[in-house]
């Protein structure tokens, strides 16, 4: 079967990588010890939070689908970490980029409430999973129509340029979304306008069940940059420092007014499209091979211990802190109320502030009653 001997051959070669090896001149060389531990914290938080969500899902407390980023934590965290939050940099995550949202300041409590469809979730129960954002903290909620966030982030970063702001934007899309018209239109528009935008193509091998070989005939996603007249770079997305480095260089270029960069991050989706997906389409042994030889957290732990001299105890302390935060968030989220049904009508427009309920939900003061013809039915001649 052609699809099973697909581009994952290339991935298999990558999956033998075992270490994180920053170059001396790399931007990550400037990260201090605390920052490197912070990267670990966000990766661990992403993984553990999703594990908690799995528990809640199995208890049927997660109302909708659950989307994992197991094995992809480094690419989301490392790339988002390259943005400068103090300058108001801005990103738009996709479904496997929970880590990037946590870096921008999303809280575990918000994530759990959102998955549990609570009334005090970031979208008050209107949207699912990690579909939410916050203009203040600099991340914007995605929609399910893949590719659409590329034009939107082109516009966000266009506004930075028009106002002379020293801000940069980053948009994630997957290997699958590069096939959409919106991706093409958005990246081309941003390239022409030289918007301060970084486009991260997270190549995790599958779009739902479709392997990359059925998504594109291009050998590499980074090659697509050539056609847009912008730099295209590729990095090991399971190496958090390599991810940081390639993104940081692109962010710096954008901030200098040099426009858009397309980055391909090579990674692997170890879970199904969503929790229900049994991954029957994945070749035997592929997932296990990535898990055992190319886990981004394991690789980073090995680096921290060997190159940074960080003790296992220090990391265990971070793990414990992560667990405490998730436990607290879970307890609070479980106590959160479900939304008031009538809130469903509020806020479609700025004006009017609320939609009208159908007349049969309004009782006696219905529009029908209000328009009754006078008792002496007949032609009104007043």
């Amino acid at each position: 079967m052609a699809s099973r001997t697909s581009s994952r051959g290339r991935s298999a070669a990558r999956s033998r990588a075992t270490a994180v090896t920053p170059a001396a001149q790399a931007p990550s060389a400037a990260l201090d010890r605390a920052q490197k531990l912070e990267l670990y914290y966000y990766m661990r938080l992403t993984r553990s939070l999703e594990e908690r969500l799995v528990n809640l899902y199995r208890q049927t407390k997660v109302i909708g689908g659950l989307f994992r980023s197991l094995g992809q934590e480094a690419d989301a965290v490392g790339s988002a970490y390259a943005l400068d939050r103090s300058k108001g940099d801005f990103l738009s995550p996709l479904i496997r980029n929970l880590g990037s949202m946590l870096v921008q300041g999303a809280q575990p409590l918000e994530i759990i409430r959102q998955y549990m469809a609570k009334g005090d979730s970031p979208t008050r129960g209107r949207e699912l999973n990690i579909h939410f954002g916050d203009l203040e903290r600099g991340f914007i909620g995605q929609i399910s129509h893949l590719g659409d966030m590329v034009p939107v982030m082109a516009g966000v970063t266009l506004s930075f340029k028009m106002r002379g702001q020293d801000r940069v934007g980053l948009v994630y899309i997957g290997d699958g979304a590069t096939s959409t018209g919106a991706f093409h239109e958005g990246i081309n528009f941003a390239a022409v306008q030289r918007c301060p935008l970084v486009v991260v193509v997270e190549n995790n091998g599958y779009a739902y069940s479709t392997p990359t070989s059925k998504q594109t005939a291009a050998a590499e996603f980074k090659d697509k940059a050539l056609a847009y007249g912008i730099p295209g770079e590729q990095a090991d997305g399971n190496d958090v420092l390599a991810t940081y480095d390639v993104t940081k260089r692109a962010v710096d270029r954008a901030r200098r007014g040099e426009g858009v960069t397309l980055i391909e991050l090579l990674t692997y989706r170890r879970k199904g499209h969503a929790e229900h997906d049994n991954q029957s389409y994945v070749p035997e042994g592929e997932i296990a091979r990535w898990a055992s030889t190319n886990d981004p957290v394991d690789r980073y732990v090995a680096y921290l211990e060997s190159a940074e001299g960080i003790s296992a105890g220090e990391l265990t302390e971070i793990d414990a802190r992560v667990q405490r935060e998730i436990d607290t968030a879970t307890d609070l989220a479980e106590q959160s109320p479900m939304p008031e049904p009538s809130d469903a009508l509020v806020g479609v427009y700025a004006n009017p502030p609320s939609a009208e309920a159908p007349w049969y939900r309004q009782g006696v003061s219905s529009a029908v009653t209000a328009n009754e013809r006078p008792a002496a039915w007949g032609t009104f001649n007043g």
Binding site: D148, A154, G155, V156, S159, F160, A182, E185, N188, N371
Partner: protein, 325 residues
């Protein structure tokens, strides 16, 4: 004071709004150096420069998507669709992204999407469309479609200042065919309010855009030849729709017909009819009748286009039927 055409009224509103608010900018295909396919944006580039008058690639989805992103950050973009027919290329962006932004994510999205619409111009299937019904069904959007120069001016100002996304359809047949003296001062026409274009007692014609003029012509003829007094209601705003004005004319004449240039099935007339039957059925003395385009793509050749689109004579025929019921 000099008279202003419908097209000049749109252009004047753009200049004044760009003067008034530095967050207003325009983007679209061939709108800058060339001044737009119909020259609506002529002169904007010279005055405001490339940063606020953006010539874009042929990318309707990117135009609307980028406008949405900029609007989230506080800008007030006005997008031009070179012909409104091409708005369908941005249908996903408008219906899924823009229309839901406030509700699902509390994101402000004050954009305007405007463009030359409508037929009677021998434009054929792809330069004559009236896509309003395709968007009427989308909560989160507002839709206006002016028929006079004053309304073109005042509704564009209202659309740009509105905090919600507004689709602003402008009828290209009217661009240079109608003109009037614009009202003095900062004339803003509220979105959601219809306009009584002619006062009458015997029957009501509810319509909008270019067919307002055909309805007025028909009303004139009906008065002369039949002694019928016709109320003509110009909706101006389709979303939200002015139910109060609709019910008022129903209660006044008890006989209603709806005229629009768009095709029949699933059109605006069906929605107006449903609203009237739900709210004011007992006020009707006759069935509600529709005059619309036939359910076909709009053909190019004059005999074909004239046959498909509603004509004044059609309105007269149906009005007589309605009055005699």
């Amino acid at each position: 004071m000099a008279e202003t055409t419908y097209l000049e009224a749109i252009r004047q509103a753009l200049f004044e709004e760009m003067d008034r608010d530095p967050n207003v900018f325009v983007l679209g295909e061939d709108i800058g150096a060339y001044g737009g396919a119909f020259k609506v944006t002529d002169g904007l580039l010279a005055k405001y420069g490339e940063s606020r008058v953006i010539d874009t690639p042929i990318s309707e989805a990117a135009i609307v998507g980028a406008a949405a992103g900029a609007a989230h950050m506080g800008m007030r973009p006005v997008c031009e669709m070179q012909f409104i027919d091409f708005i369908s290329c941005a249908y996903d962006m408008l219906t899924n992204y823009v229309a839901t932004a406030r509700y699902r994510a509390f994101l402000p999205c004050p954009i305007v999407v405007r463009g030359p619409s409508g037929g009677y111009v021998r434009g054929g299937p792809f330069h004559s469309q009236n896509p309003e019904a395709a968007f009427l069904h989308t909560p989160g959007l507002k839709i206006v479609y002016p028929s006079t120069a004053s309304d073109a001016y005042g509704l564009l100002k209202a659309a740009i200042r509105d905090d919600d996304p507004v689709l602003y359809f402008e009828h290209k047949y009217l661009y240079r065919r109608i003109k009037e003296e614009l009202p003095n001062g900062d004339h803003v026409v509220p979105i959601g309010k219809a306009r009584l274009a002619r006062e009458g007692r015997d029957l009501s014609i509810i319509t909008y855009a270019a067919t307002v003029w055909k309805a007025l012509e028909a009303a004139e003829q009906l008065e002369k030849e039949d002694g019928l007094s016709v109320d003509v209601l110009d909706l101006r705003s389709l979303l939200p729709m002015d139910d109060e004005a609709i019910m008022a004319t129903v209660k006044k004449t008890n006989r209603v017909m709806i005229v629009h240039e768009d095709t029949r099935t699933g059109g605006v007339a069906g929605e107006v009819t449903a609203r009237i039957t739900e709210r004011a059925f007992a006020w009707l003395d006759a069935p509600i009748l529709r005059v619309t385009a036939a359910d076909v793509p709009l053909p190019y050749s004059p005999p074909l286009e004239d046959f498909v689109l509603p004509q004044t004579s059609d309105i007269v025929t149906v009005a007589r039927q309605l009055a005699a019921y």
